[in-house]
């Protein structure tokens, strides 16, 4: 394919990605090394606010940005190097904690706390999603033709439902004296508060994610199972291979590219975990890396955003995902070299 033709075909797609993904990314990258601040002055002014019947006026000293002639805030941008990264990572405090073997101390720092959760979340859900997805696929493949349609339909529901709504629907079942919390209490004969401590919330979040993503893995694997070569299976049976051996030596290798695909997609999505934090309001106990960035970016009542720290934490998040993806990227690279 000539370059010009190639460019014409990919052009629109590349243009969109450059404009809406690459450009913001570059700006985030630069912002993480700079600090943009308004020039402030300290003012002392009388502020009158209503009581129910009469006003109270107080004199307040506070800082306020300086405005130029056009009424716009004067801002200064300074190069701060890695300062924003240091603010996020707090390397000194982290190092102290590590050298004292004080895990609690390390996890008291937001970034490390978020990293801890994000990694455990990603790495625990990964095998679960693949395992459950594969199990459902095998079971459906095993089921009578009659029931397959409805079963596939029901199985896909958790995947298609709007994530925010899915998370809320599970939360309602457990929050306070939710219906399932009561069931558990009745079963275990003890008082349970699912949202009172970190680990139960974490379990709920893991459960939600597996519930939500396993159907995706299932449908991909199920599609893969339809193309298993029956000749090979029959040959194996003649050779006396047991059911497990057939599964392990024929079916799993056949599905391997799909397993890699699902793993790849899931790694990326799980590493971005965010809806769960909001849906289960877990920020008192566990937070994730994307939530940390989001939180830095949320303006408070007086309109402050920690843009530099947000950029730094975003870049660190990105570095993390690239590291996680390296094994898979290397495999793609080898395949690419091989096929050429």
């Amino acid at each position: 394919m000539k370059f010009r033709t190639f460019a014409a075909f990919v052009g629109p797609s590349i243009f969109l990605m450059l404009l809406f993904i690459a450009a913001p990314l570059v700006s985030v990258f630069t912002q993480s090394f700079y600090l943009t601040q308004p020039v402030v002055e300290i003012v002392s002014e009388e502020v009158c606010t209503p009581g129910f019947l009469r006003q109270t006026c107080t004199t307040e000293t506070r800082s306020q940005p300086v405005l130029d002639e056009d009424g716009r805030v004067v801002r200064e941008t300074t190069f701060v190097g890695l300062q924003s990264y240091r603010n996020v990572l707090e390397p000194q405090r982290a190092w102290e904690a590590v050298s004292n073997f004080d895990i609690g101390g390390l996890l008291a720092i937001d970034f490390w706390k978020a990293l801890r959760f994000t990694l455990t979340f990603t790495l625990i859900t990964l095998p679960l999603v693949i395992g459950v997805g594969l199990a459902i696929a095998l079971a459906v493949n095993n089921a009578a033709k009659m029931v397959r349609g409805p079963v596939i339909f029901v199985s896909l529901l958790p995947f298609i439902i709007t994530p925010v709504i899915g998370a809320l629907s599970i939360r309602w079942l457990f929050v306070g004296d939710g219906i399932l919390t009561r069931a558990l209490e009745w079963y275990l004969e003890r008082d349970i508060a699912m949202f009172a401590q970190g680990w139960t919330i974490e379990i709920l979040m893991l459960f939600y994610r597996v519930w939500h993503v396993a159907p995706f893995a299932f449908v991909i694997f199920y599609a893969g199972l339809q193309t298993v070569n029956t000749d090979t299976v029959e040959a194996a049976i003649i050779d006396g291979a047991s059911r497990w051996q057939r599964l392990w030596y024929i079916i799993v290798p056949h599905l391997m590219p799909l397993i890699v695909f699902v793993a790849l997609i899931h790694l990326m999505d799980a590493y971005r975990v965010f809806e769960e934090i909001v849906g289960f309001s877990s920020q008192a106990h566990v937070i994730s890396l994307q939530w940390l960035t989001y939180d830095f970016l949320q303006p408070d009542d007086s309109g402050n955003r920690a843009v530099s720290r947000a950029s730094a934490s975003a870049m660190l998040t990105m570095i993390g995902i690239v590291i996680l993806l390296i094994p898979l990227l290397r495999k793609t690279w080898r395949d690419h070299r091989g096929t050429r």
Binding site: F6, M17, F20, A139, I152, W211, G224, A310, V322, R340
Partner: protein, 383 residues
């Protein structure tokens, strides 16, 4: 042949696999079933502690709304019939249709017709008939059920506006995403160059980016776009904030990496000889694409399209930040119910809205379930 015999499974395995499947289906459907039940109850019942109260809804029944036995039997029968039609007859109908247009269009018409038909029968035709029957037989309701929340959501709060907005955004995203994506996917599948490889890798990394990082950067640019674009477009420079078109562009871009990967692996499974033959016959690349590839690419495109649909339909982060009230889509609108200084009634209304959002997705999966599987089987996913 020992095959069939050896493939036959011992009873224990079949029971185990069957009960696992039953358990999973219960797990998959229960939360959704539960919010659906809640949405039909008076607030006191919906948040009652006793599960039976939630299902039977004594307070709701006391309020005079409920279903009689006949209602339940007939309702279930009609639902079952509808599911059968959607899953079995509809795909066949679409398949027989003459080749005067592309399958995507045919599917759209068929799904829309089905949806409208269902709504007419289930909500228009059934209630008056059943009311008459119940009145004649003098039956008392056994299950409390009220549709006031749905009325509040759809009529009083004009939720249909959000529905229309969602439709615009979703259709826009799916169309643009597939158009742009098939072209790129095809080129990437047919070109073995280093450049193509690196584009794919970079797309993969883009796919992994946390969205909140990107999205926050858009807001100031979109709000001030009139001023920014003025040197280029002159007086007519638009304010992009609040424009569905702008949101469509953003969502398409965010989803583009996934789309091109899916479509590329799908095109890889179409033999290259096919279009090479056409090229030998003197077609340009584009002509080969148009006349040789397009007719065979639909299964993969439909599957990829479904994923785009889900992304656009379910998106919250982008739509909530970049759209104003008059163009708000459904998901952010729903969140508004929760975060108003909320009353319990608001919450049940939010649940009703949530169920309303889920209904079209139901329909979608019901109709396209086979296409998803066959599309994936055909090779949209090859790792």
């Amino acid at each position: 042949m020992s095959g069939p015999k050896a493939l036959r499974q011992p009873l224990a395995l079949r029971v185990a696999s069957g009960s696992f499947l039953a358990f999973w289906c219960l797990l998959a459907a229960f939360p959704i079933f539960w919010i659906a039940v809640m949405s039909f109850k008076a607030p006191v019942d919906a948040f009652a502690g006793n599960p039976l109260d939630v299902i039977l809804g004594p307070m709701t029944r006391a309020g005079g709304d409920g279903l009689t036995l006949i209602d339940i039997v007939v309702g279930v029968a009609v639902l079952y019939g509808a599911v059968q039609v959607a899953m079995r007859s509809l795909p066949k109908l679409v398949a027989i249709d003459a080749p005067w247009s592309n399958p995507v269009f045919r599917w759209l018409v068929a799904s829309a017709a089905f949806a409208i038909g269902f709504v007419l029968v289930f909500f228009g035709l059934l209630p008056p008939i059943l009311n008459a029957v119940n009145g004649a037989l003098g039956l008392e309701p056994v299950i409390g059920l009220t549709t006031v929340h749905y009325q509040a959501v759809w009529v009083d709060n004009e939720f249909w506006r959000n529905f229309v907005n969602s439709l615009i955004v979703t259709v826009g995203v799916v169309t643009v995403s597939l158009t742009v994506g098939t072209l790129a996917g095809y080129a990437l599948a047919r070109s073995g160059s280093q450049l193509a490889f690196w584009i794919l890798i970079i797309a993969l990394i883009f796919r992994a980016l946390p969205h909140s990082v990107l999205v926050a950067g858009y807001l100031p640019v979109f709000v001030n776009s009139a001023a920014i674009l003025e040197p280029i477009l002159g007086e007519n420079a638009p304010t992009l904030y609040g424009q569905p078109l702008a949101v469509i562009a953003v969502l398409v871009s965010i989803n583009q990496p996934f789309t091109i990967w899916m479509l590329r692996s799908f095109f890889m499974s179409i033999p290259a000889e096919l279009d090479e033959a056409a090229r030998v016959d003197g077609c340009t690349h584009f002509q080969a694409f148009r006349w040789v590839i397009m007719p065979v690419m639909w299964p993969g495109v439909i599957t990829t399209g479904l994923f785009s649909f889900l992304l656009a339909y379910n998106d919250f982060l982008v739509t909530s930040l970049l759209l104003d009230a008059s163009n708000q889509t459904m998901v952010p609108a729903i969140a508004g119910y929760f975060n108003r200084e909320t009353t319990t009634t608001d919450q049940v209304e939010a649940v009703a809205a949530a169920v309303s959002i889920t209904a079209p997705l139901f329909l979608l999966v019901m109709i396209f379930q086979r296409q998803i599987v066959s599309g994936l089987t055909a090779g949209a996913v090859k790792g």
